[in-house]
Symmetry: C2
Subunit: 395 residues, 2 copies
Amino acid sequence: MQISKRIEAMQFSPIRKLVPFAEAAKKQGKKVYHLNIGQPDIETPQEFFDAVKNFDAKVLEYAFSQGIPELIDSFIEYYKLFDLNYEKDEILITNGGSEAVFFALVATCDYGDEVLVPEPFYTNYNSFSKSAGAVVVPVATSAENGFKLPDISVFESKITPKTKAIMLSNPGNPTGACYDMADMEKIKNLAIKHDLYIIADEVYKEMIYDGHKFTSFTQMEGLEERVILTDSISKRYSACGARIGCVASKNKALMAQILKLCQGRLCVATIEQIGAAALARVAPSYMENVVKEYEKRRNVCFAALQEMEGVTCQKPNGAFYIMADLPVKDTDDFCEWLLKEFHVNNETVMFAPGSGFYATEGKGKNQIRISYVLEEESLKKAMNVLKEALKAYNK
Amino acid sequence: MQISKRIEAMQFSPIRKLVPFAEAAKKQGKKVYHLNIGQPDIETPQEFFDAVKNFDAKVLEYAFSQGIPELIDSFIEYYKLFDLNYEKDEILITNGGSEAVFFALVATCDYGDEVLVPEPFYTNYNSFSKSAGAVVVPVATSAENGFKLPDISVFESKITPKTKAIMLSNPGNPTGACYDMADMEKIKNLAIKHDLYIIADEVYKEMIYDGHKFTSFTQMEGLEERVILTDSISKRYSACGARIGCVASKNKALMAQILKLCQGRLCVATIEQIGAAALARVAPSYMENVVKEYEKRRNVCFAALQEMEGVTCQKPNGAFYIMADLPVKDTDDFCEWLLKEFHVNNETVMFAPGSGFYATEGKGKNQIRISYVLEEESLKKAMNVLKEALKAYNK
């Protein structure tokens, strides 16, 4: 009676594996700043909660497998803001962006098939691909180079007959990097030349700073059938707990297949879908304020990091993460130590160790991912804890 | 750019694939009785809705990956009613029973590994196993024999080095059969002898009729480490849309591994968990009334079927399904015809065609699964539609 090899090979989430130490620290009375997880402190729009409170059915029934029509319509309207015209059968509601990515992998890959992924990448691509039996093939990018994509020949050197897709988040998690047109053209050409899908994870598409212009893979001509968009309301509406996302593609044949997966798990939670559908009524000023707030936080966080000896990082122009190199050998140990041993005025901070964002063994050991999801004062205090911690840890 | 072979090989849900025809019938003004899906018309306890309405956080945050503590505690209390003592780290909250089954498969099977399943079986075992890369190996049971399990030698003839588990629903979906101790001992002996897990899907455990006594695989001595329980609140609290279930096992090493899968998809919807936790306060009389109601419906449905010429079925003693043999060659065609062509006083009925509940090609073609989830009067009308339809279809 064995446990499967694939689940044993899976890692615990670097974002969540230190939670027991954080809980223990809190029990000791320490305050813990959570910069480990993309859980914003920004208020969820009241429209969501009002819709939930107004739900008055007597029976909490299954929803349609593809999602409730009002929610699909609201995604259709939302994408029109980006000059994208999706039809009703080109969008399927999922349990967050997570399920969208998993479904995209199952639909494009058989067991052992490969997916090219610029590294570092969103850590859970590892668990989704292991569950789905697909293999993540990492393509290195580096902070020094602003996480820009390498030459197309580097991607091509990794292509085998089993390569089925390129998967990437844009803006990037954990890098905060937003791809420019040169990078996007690279991916486009590669996908066309080698007949690959592009799994485009664009859940942070609103969080763009410094006047950078975001382009979606879905907007690029000639990619209509190739792009599988995975999206979520979690970040843009600070509604992570709703677990509402979608998978969308103009490739109707593919979407018809993914519907089978939706039917298999029956439906996404009904009440949360009703709440999410109401977000279509949120004023545009909500998002404008959110983006301004994150840009300010990024600046606070980045400025603080620049003043710490031995810490290097790029100023990211998207999402709400900074991937920073620390002057420590093993950030897994350092992050655990922060929770177990260290505090400044009984306060400490939690980060996600960098190694979990790599598939390449040994990489990221001196990095952390910082989620700048807390308001300015908390962020400043957390950064001060980090500064003092680095001094103490390296003694 | 191909679609994966496994998703192409997946079937559309027999429970849901006719939905477009049902929607079209409704647009034409027809009333459709939905006996295709296990969606009860029984009211969800008010405690659920009250808890949802009282949710007053400003930010809809991620929940813990393992589930919110109140909900885990409520499952622990619930299992105590069955003399089962689970600890906190032996229960993980899932997106309905669906995700629980999927997680159990990923944790026990590598790609190509096999799971023995008495046939007919819950149709979505097919899609979960294809997603997970596990292979369902059907073991035939038949209505004439009350869906009792065959001799242990029949199971053993199917065992290979790749066999990792036995999976079964008890009471059975779609059979309505509740296993007796002789059958359960068979499974126990087989699992011990061949070192297999038992994935016990017991979401209908309350729906037991005629004074039959239900025994859970979790209650059997000597199986503590082998049994993986998959459960859901969907049926017992008529809360299908909540998508709240759990996977539970006394095998702590296994549960620690499954936590990785929970972390990968981050969490289950927060608000629905809060609603589900409140169900612990529902009076026992709720469930007693529900069971009485289903027993009455089963009697109505079974009596009506017995009076139809050429229809045969067993009187099931659990769940809320009847698997009936109809005097037609192809129930896929018949069920579609019911929606597209037939009506009695502008009313028709929707069933799940039987073939989708089999892995063996060609089986179940003359069967339907009837979900007796509607109140008596609707059920009588729906049965009358079936009676008249059989006469008309066979002309």
